[in-house]
Amino acid sequence: MSRQKSRGNRNKKAPERREKPKRFVQRMKVRLLLLVLIIMGAMVWVGYTVYAINHNKGEKYKKNVLSQQRYDSLEIPYRRGDIIDRNGTYLATSRKVYNVVLEPKHICADEEAKETTVNALITYFKITKEEVDKALNDTNSLYKVILKKQPYEDVQAFQEYQNTQAGKKVRGVWFEEEYQRYYPLGNLACHVLGFTAAGNVGQGGVEGEYNSMLNGVNGRRYGYLNSDMSMETTTIEPINGNNIVTTIDSNIQNIIQNKINDFMTETGAKNVSVIAMKPANAEILALYNSNSYDPNKPYDLEALKYQFEGTDEERMAEIEAQDDDARLESLNKLWRNYVINDTFEPGSTFKTFTVAAALEENVLKGDETFLCDGGEQVANYYIHCHNHKGHGTVTIAGAMAKSCNDALMQIGKKLGRETFSQYQTVFGFGLKTNVDLPGEAYTKNLVYDSETLNEVELACCSFGQGLNVSMIQLATAFCSVVNGGNYYQPHVVKQIVDGNGSVVKNVDGVLLRKTISEATSEKLKDFLFDVVEIGTAATRGHIDGYRIGGKTGTAEKLPRGNGKYILSFICAVPIEAPELVLYVTVDEPNIEDPSHSGIATVLSKNILEELLPYMNIFQSNQGTVDAENAEEPEAVTPVFEGAAPEATGAGTDEGAQGAIGADNDTEEETTEETETETEEETEAETEEDNRGNDDTE
């Protein structure tokens, strides 16, 4: 204290002197201690606050912390299986696509990072600055999906940029994986494939029929708190769907599609359908309907144009003017697989089976001759041969080659209603083929059984008039005729392979029954060969160097006499050991006098000329058509004013109803739609009146 005083005195005397350093005196030390004590008190206060929070609110806050945790787990999508053709070409596949997710909160935290991120997004994705800014407006959000289903290429480019020096600043962007169904070949084989609606729901075709096989099981990533209260994650890997190898050959399909499309643009028809099968085991090699669509965009209105008349603009206008019901009807029409779902009167192609039955039952020995005088009196009706003057005396081969109705009526009569009806069933008419495509037409009520097969009906059915069949039925039966009598279940799926590549199931072809003997088959093949060599298909169906066996068919649609025809041609190549059965139907071609055009035969020839070299089916003889002896192309078959059998029940079954539905909530409408349509197609309603008239006459 004395020193302090003395210094104070000295300062008074000489305030400008600073040599003597000033001391941190006792008084100040006391003050400092006081300051430190205040600070310690403050520290104790905050320390106590920490304790108080734990003591008073600890349990509650612990719960709050846990309740804030998101337990809801992340779904890892499975991959729907691929659909592959017989050569390994992908018909349908699932591509990984990416949803772009932003975390606005992290992006907006730093101006520079925000700018870099926004610029990068605009550069690498198809999005405008305004859209990104809009998404970033919600600056507290951690999850904003700004783009969906971006291709891998774009995402990869973006991620490469992120790895560069400039791109390091990008933040708060991540990608969510998803799968999108993709059909690389567009509308090729669309009716075989079908398409998928949202959520991997297959609609129609293989997608629909094998939906559960193609789908897998989603995986999951769970987060949970373990006993030590730390986050653990567990991943259950997704199980990917099975891949399906079809019997389709995309090259064959492509050739057929090109030829028919050419025809549709040049000439056109209400519908053209083609099925190509491998007769040895009834594999379907190709299946085509002219009303094709792109399964990548099944709802595309462009594809509906064929249903309307006029210029492009007029058609689009009409389509856009449709109400919902009409639109759905149009779409269902578009997606419909004529080959499987629809039935028609086959006409003369059916004669193959009548003759086969007669030979198999020894009703015919093979050397019989028949006199065709231009028609036959059956009960109260006189039923004309298509050649009203008559073919004269014909052998069985001649009857086939000339497609003589008169001879066939006589053969039918010899067979009798019991045997005819029995063979109708043997060949699968009126039954389902159980082809592995959805919505197969139900034809039980569209053929006559032994009870209802009266004289007139028998006579008509013997040449393919008066009964309804589907293309798949007739083609499959035809396969059995040319392959030695083995009726296989037709199928489009060859093999099912799981995600790891191991085979789940092989489908070699299921032999359902024996239809005819080898010997009968050989005889029939000779007859069929003659049809193309010297018969009704000779001028239009013959291809130099190839041994083709086939049968033409021309059926007038109901009501008779309206000039609307379904022309068809079915053939097997090479006829000795067939590797291919090709069946072409043309419904209402835009041709003058279609009954004499043999347009289906012409189309077959066009297809075969390109198809046979591709299939490595070589030329086996150098025979040329004997134009002198060649028959005139088959004229119209129907000469009978009567009717096809009465379809008392609805002409469909549950399969046909479920053929293709837009989606679940429109299922009812779809069902109704399918019913009426099939009824119209089979003309069952109009028949009733006709039949009534028959009875009274």
Binding site: N11, R23, M28, V36, V50, N54, Y61, D228, M229
Partner: protein, 368 residues
């Protein structure tokens, strides 16, 4: 003049920095991974700052602190200039302008201002000692006001954009004044003036600061109380011993700035009340060492610098913890030596270098 270099303080500083690095790594790993695909992103930056700071601290500790007295006025001009510059050309960050960029180096003038203020106030205090002793109420008021007057300009400038740093600066000035002033009445006056000033400032300040008061009062319910609430959840869920180092749940996107202003809450969550008390004790120990350096210091200038530093560290630690425990309205103050941040860490270590330099020139009590 003996060499009383304070190894205990050096050890405390190094320990706190290492502990800080561990906690920065723990609390920022999630954020680093999410935003930069690198859990050690923030840690990697921080240990480099720490290394630079270490060299600077050692370097500064060899410089005789008495040199600073000569350039005290220059420092004052520098502080005013830098804080002015930040208002004019500074760039925005977190809503308020606090950064200034020179070349590639970014720094916060307000961080520099704290150390500068310690030196400047200590320097003129040496000559103020006598003036403060004047008797009479009028003299007391005038002399004390005169003492504070020169600091009002830089503090006012800082306060326009960064209230919390201004408060810390004010605390530094007051801390030195308390120790220096011979009048006991100063305690009462200071308490009243501080309270009134704070109240007035809050009352007439920008509206967003008023909103902070509302949030503070209704922390459990106010929608904008989310950040502090999350910090309190972290503290409350820590328990006695915590969830274990690295096991914080709240750092995963819930506590904002988990590696920065809110790091204390993550420390409590992971290391519990035990860890929190240990950390507070470390800071108290550090303050105690500062006090010892003061008492052993042979001259007033050095001692008063350390008093300023002591007040600075104490105020900053207390405000930081008080914010995360919601004792006071939320404001952005880092936890010294622990929080993530380059300028803050390096300036603190330079500050420690100055204190260590003072400690070199101490004498054992009674020796003089």
């Amino acid at each position: 003049m003996g060499d009383g270099f304070d190894y205990v303080l050096l050890f405390l500083v190094l320990f706190l920095i290492c502990f800080g690095l561990v906690m920065v790594y723990s609390s920022s790993s999630y954020k680093g991974y999410v935003e930069y695909k690198n859990a050690a992103y923030f840690f990697n930056k921080q240990w480099k700052f720490a290394l630079v700071g270490l060299f600077m601290m050692i370097g500064v500790s060899f410089i005789d602190y008495r040199n600073y007295r000569k350039i005290a006025n220059l420092i004052y001009i520098g502080i005013v200039g830098a804080t002015l510059a930040v208002l004019v050309i500074g760039r925005a960050s977190h809503g308020a302008t606090r950064w200034i960029q020179i070349g590639s180096i970014q720094f916060q003038p307000s961080e520099v201002a704290k150390l500068g203020l310690c030196i400047y106030v200590a320097a003129y205090s040496v000559n103020f000692n006598r003036i403060l002793k004047r008797k009479g109420a009028k003299n007391i008021i005038v002399s004390h006001f005169m003492f504070v007057l020169p600091t009002l300009l830089p503090i006012g400038l800082i306060a326009t954009e960064n209230l919390s740093t201004a408060i810390i600066c004010m605390a530094i000035v007051m801390g030195i004044l308390i120790v220096l002033s011979p009048k006991w009445v100063i305690f009462g006056v200071l308490a009243v003036v501080a309270a009134a000033g704070l109240w007035a400032f809050l009352e007439f300040s920008k509206s967003y600061r008023m909103e902070r008061i509302e949030v503070w009062k209704n922390i459990e319910t106010h929608e904008k109380g989310y950040q502090t609430r999350q910090a309190m959840y972290a503290i409350g869920s820590g328990g006695l011993m915590g969830k274990g180092l690295g096991s914080s749940i709240q750092k995963m996107g819930f506590v904002p700035e988990a590696h920065n202003d809110m790091i204390f809450s993550i420390i409590v969550e992971e290391l519990g009340m035990f860890g929190a008390v240990c950390l507070i004790l470390l800071f108290v120990l550090m303050i105690w060492r500062f006090m010892l350096i003061c008492t052993k210091s042979e001259d007033l200038f050095g001692a008063l610098i350390v008093v300023g530093v002591l007040t600075h560290i104490a105020a900053q630690v207390w405000i930081n913890i008080a914010v995360v425990t919601n004792l006071i309205p939320p404001t952005g103050v880092t936890l010294p030596f622990i929080s993530y941040g380059g300028t803050s860490l390096i300036m603190l270590m330079i500050e420690m270098g100055v204190v260590l330099s003072v400690s070199r020139h101490t004498v054992e009590v009674g020796e003089a």
